[in-house]
Symmetry: C2
Subunit: 322 residues, 2 copies
């Protein structure tokens, strides 16, 4: 490449990384040579000297979960516009996998997007010494955070249930170690005048919800807020097959607003989470952290309740029914 254009390698280098420092004519010549040799600077080699890999790591609990897949889509699309590639990794909800992943990725990326980590604060803080983080859906002091205001979403959801006459309400918690689950639980507990039952921790999947149908049915609650839509959908399935009508006997609210919730019957009432926006925002925060280690930033994204058909008024027969 250097000899193909008749210049020294350093001139080739400058043509790509600091074009203004090279004579326009030379530049044209180098670019032309690059064009027909199909030459592109090797990013790995470049990383070795600059210390910038132009890669990002993105770690989620479950790639196939629609919430995360939208987040990934947003993050990846945004990263690409900034000339960054992104490694995507799935922990399968396993904290030890999460830790291992961060460690092996650390040297290969300029920063990592940690989404809904299940690791303890202590471990996250330790790992943070090796690589910049942006933590999504968890409050971590000293790091940039992208949070969704799921607490107020949960309060809104419960207020909606209360307005329909529900007093005995169940909260289906998410996985252990989930910040979101803790936020929801606290928010729900802060609502006065209701009789709250917290069930969990649970696997945040359709199957996890399905397994809760019997406990929910026998608990006597008339309203349910689930950790996410997948669980809510599983619960509705299970309840229906038990002969419990939704929303006739029990009202169900999910969280996330995934497609499956919009098309299931009854259509799922849910707290919408801006997953793609979270991905974009997280990339922004991470990239500004990479440029110059500034003060960690905190972004909070609004959620909002979408009322559909899985919630309805308490039936007289059940009011006060133990």
């Amino acid at each position: 490449m250097a000899q193909a254009s008749g210049v020294h390698v350093s001139t080739v280098s400058r043509t790509f990384s600091a074009p203004h420092l090279v004579n326009p004519e030379t530049r044209t010549r180098v670019l032309a040579a690059a064009e027909d040799l199909g030459y592109r600077p090797n990013r790995a080699a470049r990383a070795l000297t600059t210390g910038r890999t132009h890669n990002l790591g993105l770690i989620v609990a479950d790639i196939a979960n629609p919430f995360f897949s939208h987040l990934i889509k947003g993050a990846q699309a945004h990263a690409r516009t900034r000339d960054y590639h992104v490694f995507v990794a799935d922990t399968d909800e396993d904290p030890s996998v999460e830790e291992e992943l961060i460690q092996t990725l650390a040297k290969q990326v300029d920063g990592v997007l940690l989404c809904s980590p299940r690791l303890s604060n202590r471990v996250i803080e330790k790992l943070h010494e090796d690589v910049p983080f942006v933590v999504v859906n968890r409050r971590m002091k000293g790091m940039s955070n992208v949070l969704m205001d799921v607490g107020s979403g949960a309060r809104e959801a419960i207020a909606h249930l209360v307005s329909l006459g529900h007093r005995r309400i169940a909260l289906l918690a998410g996985p252990a170690g989930s910040w979101t689950s803790k936020e929801i639980t606290e928010a729900a507990r802060s609502v006065p005048g209701i009789d709250l039952t917290v069930l969990g921790p649970n696997s945040p999947t359709e199957h996890g919800g399905l397994a809760l149908a019997r406990p929910v049915a026998s608990s006597g609650v008339t309203g349910v807020l689930a950790y996410n839509d997948l669980m809510a959908i599983g619960l509705v399935e299970g309840l229906t097959s038990l002969g419990v009508d939704v929303p006739g006997h029990v009202s169900v609210v999910g969280i996330d607003d995934i497609v499956a919730g919009r098309v299931s019957r009854p259509k799922l009432t849910t707290v919408a989470m801006p997953a793609e926006a979270a991905g974009r925002t997280a990339v922004d925060l991470l990239l500004q952290l990479v440029g110059a280690p500034v003060t960690p930033a905190l972004a909070t994204l609004a959620t909002n309740l979408i009322i559909r058909d899985s919630t309805g008024p308490v039936r007289d027969a059940l009011r006060g029914d133990p």
Copy 2:
């Protein structure tokens, strides 16, 4: 690290890449030092000399499409067990983005998984000179392929419609450039005794299906096979809001078997595609290609029809109705 353990760098190197060549005692000492310094060999630097990056590229049309997100999950999980990281990129169905992506990724990975590419054969063949490929859901001579037997799935679906008395059938095609779409179309055309209308190309999304509700309703067909579940779901939504009952007036079959199809009402009859398995298989083929450029392999994965509630018998009133 070298001096921390009192040995030369080359010994450290050997400890990690060829442990059997180093004295057990020395090895223990080096490993211990690595442990408390948190040292890990820099993969980018290693790649520079070995030519193996231990990275894979994975390019899909739409990360948020459940079919692809499951494929990604399978590929990524399997890659991790082989000590590979994976870059995931989304083309948004845009061929030029696809090409650019492959080019920037080429030098950074040992190979790429091209899923449902929209590029022309010629361009793919040219790009293949730069980096090994495994192509998923498209037949490409000279490269390893992972195919799903969607042709026989489509035939099975249509046979099912025919057995219910349907003769006037519409096929909702997918995006231009989609091999799968072409396969389905050919398969459908090969079925004798039906009156087939092909509508498309279309955007392979819920919205794409929704937009087809009116054309389908006015076409007089009684059975529909859609390019994927997302479109089928959108179509059902649109049909329903037009007062057309599914499966009363029109029977609908999708392809993929995503969660949303299982929970929508009516539950969607569909051709199940083994997305996760495809991801795993593709990684296997790619890795064996990387080791030693062997003969490209071809893997064909079976599909199967899942009959649910969106298909039913033709109603007498409509039989023969124009």
